[in-house]
């Protein structure tokens, strides 16, 4: 797979493996991330997401497989890889005793930026990440969201064209999460490639061009959010019947449907298209139904179906097609 593609890939991985003792954490992962796109590695805790990021960012040696990051081999050209990437790990990597400005300045010095350039980059990042007001306070006094923004700003000081974000919004409140999503979108608009891991389906759905679902060290599915949603059934329309008599009537009319006498609802499988919805509605009398809900399969359904086989079948919303 590596080298076969003609597109410019920021990341190319083939047959990546990593074990700790008998436990195989990454069990043969292949993937490619075109430059300028966002790739989300989605999976439950312990799926191997962080290990994959640590291998690709040169923190961990792989047991087997090949990977090129920013065009460089991660084992033989680790220094060139490091010079090309920015990494924001799962745990806060800010220096608590330094101020926000000093943290950024530290990154500029270690990134070997010249003095005047360093000063302007630091000032710009403080502004852009809404940290200018707290720039001269110690990072240890920052809120979780501020620390996370500083963390990401530090990753960007040297201007990497490829960044790794390991669970960037874990532990953040919804507002901070949305702020961070906004920042990631801006980066992508500037042409930066982003490789992120997340356990939040919404995050992958919101940000990623392509999503890889990782389970027990294996990629069990890969594609755009829409492609993944098509992989699972479970789209349905739920009709709220006016009374029991109407419900029975509807049930006779739609033999494939699943009536619930207690809730007075009728659940019909639905492929999500407008045509079938229109056809369905045309066959229902105005007074028979008091409410209607269209449920399209979300990434949640994909996630559960692909990564946790023991509970997927128990889902109350699951409708046999």
């Amino acid at each position: 797979m590596v080298g076969m593609t003609t597109r410019i890939n920021a990341i190319e991985v083939a047959g990546l493996r990593k074990s700790y003792g008998d436990h195989e954490v990454v069990a043969g992962v292949d993937l490619a991330v075109p430059a300028g796109t966002v790739y989300a590695l989605l999976g439950p805790n312990g799926a191997g997401k962080t290990t994959t990021v640590r291998i690709l960012s040169t923190l961990l040696p792989a047991d087997a497989g090949e990977a090129r990051v920013a065009g460089y081999d991660i084992q033989r050209e680790a220094d060139q890889v490091r010079a090309s990437i920015g990494v924001t790990g799962q745990f806060s990597a800010v220096d608590q005793l330094l101020t926000g400005r000093e943290n950024l300045r530290l990154m500029a010095d270690l990134g070997h930026l010249d003095r005047s350039h360093a000063e302007s980059v630091v000032a710009q990042l403080l502004e852009r990440f809404h940290l200018a007001e707290v720039a001269d306070r110690r990072a240890g006094t920052y809120s979780g969201g501020m620390k996370r923004r500083l963390d990401l700003a530090m990753t960007l000081v040297a201007g990497p064209r490829l960044i790794f974000l390991d669970e960037p919004t874990t532990g953040l409140d919804p507002r901070s999460r949305r702020d961070l999503w906004g920042i990631v979108r801006e980066l992508v608009a500037d042409g930066v490639t982003v490789f992120l891991t997340t356990q939040y389906l919404e995050e992958a759905d919101q940000l990623a061009d392509r999503i890889g679902v990782l389970d027990k060290g294996r990629l069990v599915a890969e594609g755009t959010a829409a492609e993944l949603k098509r992989l699972v059934s479970g789209g349905h329309v739920e009709l709220q019947a006016a009374d029991g008599e109407r419900l029975a009537e509807l049930a006779r009319q739609f033999p494939e449907a699943n009536p619930n006498a207690a809730a007075l609802t009728l659940t019909l499988p639905h492929d999500g298209s407008l045509t079938t919805l229109r056809r369905l509605l045309a066959g229902i009398g105005d007074d028979a139904v008091t409410g209607l809900a269209v449920h399209t399969p979300g990434l949640d359904d994909v996630f559960l179906a692909l990564t946790d086989h023991s509970t997927a079948g128990d889902s109350p919303e699951e409708v046999p097609a």
Binding site: D95, L106, H112, M154
Partner: protein, 264 residues
Amino acid sequence: MNTATYGVRDSATMLRRNLKHMARYPSQTLMLIGLPLLFLLLFVYVFGGTMGAGLPGAPARDRSDYLTFITPGVLTMTVASVSISTAVSVATDMTGGIIDRFRTMAIAKVSVLTGHVLGAMVQTALALATVFGVAFLLGLETATSAMQWLGLIGLLALLSFAMTWFTVALGLASPNPEAASNRPMIFIMLPFVGSGFVPVESMPTGLRWFAEYQPFTPVIDAFRSLLAGSPDGSDVLRAIGWCVVIGLIGYLWSRRLYRTRAAN
């Protein structure tokens, strides 16, 4: 990019970082300087009269002689005391997220450690100057020539360089900062079981054997001879030898630990 060419620049950056840490968190530095000072005052004023009288020598000795006798031991203890903070700050770095950030950057790998070593050297220099200052205030008298002072300062620098590399390794080997603060504690006690506070000849046989052959004894004896203005060549050479051995073990051990901890 050749990371080796950035070794000096990155080490200087890391040194600045560590100096800022010391300035922001001075209580640790003060406590570690305070400990040897406390021993100095305690031994001179509480035990000094009795201990001074017990020192061997023809004319009767007193408190001021005891001050002269223990100053080398207290200097050694000061170096050991400051090295605790080195172990703690290395362990703090290694257990926090920031070390992964440094590792994913194209910087000279050794700079993370050299920054700590250089920072600790600065801290030790401050601590030693303070201890010397207090000792002189208490009435320390020396017969050291200018050249001998240079030798003394050089030997102190060598000792702190060696001890720092060793405690960097202890910090790397510690699972957390708390463990890191306990492990170098033994080095503070070593001057007691050596020639720091009493002549080793006064100890019972087994202990005396240990005291004579442990590394701090020749170091303390060398300091003592330099302060007396009559350097003992064999003590100085043994002291240098021990410092080189401790420093080399510390450096090689640190390097190995730093690499293997990357594979976690």
